[in-house]
Subunit: 184 residues, 2 copies
Amino acid sequence: MPKPPHILAIRPAPATSFLHIEQVDLEFSNGERRTFERMLPSGLGAVMIVPMLDRDTVLLVREYAVGVERYELGLPKGRIEPGESIEAGAEREMKEEVGYGAHRLLHLAALTLSPAYMTHHTHVVLALDLYPERLPGDEPEPLEVVPWKLAELHALLEHHEVSEGRSIAALFMAREHLAGRYQP
Amino acid sequence: MPKPPHILAIRPAPATSFLHIEQVDLEFSNGERRTFERMLPSGLGAVMIVPMLDRDTVLLVREYAVGVERYELGLPKGRIEPGESIEAGAEREMKEEVGYGAHRLLHLAALTLSPAYMTHHTHVVLALDLYPERLPGDEPEPLEVVPWKLAELHALLEHHEVSEGRSIAALFMAREHLAGRYQP
């Protein structure tokens, strides 16, 4: 289990930052006007993968998260690259972060982070029929892979390194789908 | 059901914007260095409420979300105000958005949006033993309140206005708690 990284410096981001903020003036149908701010993504969206090692076991990763300055346990994820489909991005990220490819990929949902002030979408992809294959990624250190039983999601909620809403949502959505109750 | 608002103007946000971006230089324990960007919240955090009208029925709200430029169906939420506890903020937002207070409030979780590049936390509060009481809010139009059965969350996942990861996560967490499987 790696030690967390050391923070060398913190400074305001330059205007060329990958995150951008804009203001939007709105007029509601009742004539009310408001100005809201929202964050623009720089890229093509994100992909989050639910990699099923077998029918009951999902593979989680433990990765340093600078927003909260600790390690977070959740689903593997990453940005979709130019020219890549959602499924191709999902399989590449899986190979980089958990060391598996998948013979079957299913687009489960497009989740938003905070639709009130973010335009971001995260595509959730269920990965089945895994096979071992590793691709080199751009991670600063290897990620710890943690298998977890889908029947034990309630116990995962109590884990002190589990906090990401979209990761928890994606796990329950996958469980509902695999139980035959939810079709994307 | 109101018509969506009209967008009058969009422009880059000034430096006084409520959203701020900063860069962080990191050195990992293996000596690798990276610079990451993260978004800073301006306030005291957000609160998201799971208001239970009875043991099986949660009250959702339908609200315009400028990040995705459509109405979103999800849990009531808002920012915690200066001097307010999490529970007081939860009850105020409930009274403003759904027209109910609660005799029992339980802090279920602190969810993150994207811990890799956001410092934001959303406190999830379960509200039980509701009573009717309305407070005037700052909403530009009244929110539509939509009751939903907790046993039917799988059907909610298929609703075209449901996309917010933390709202879906909070609903499943509340269901696990009410079923006696998860304790915060």
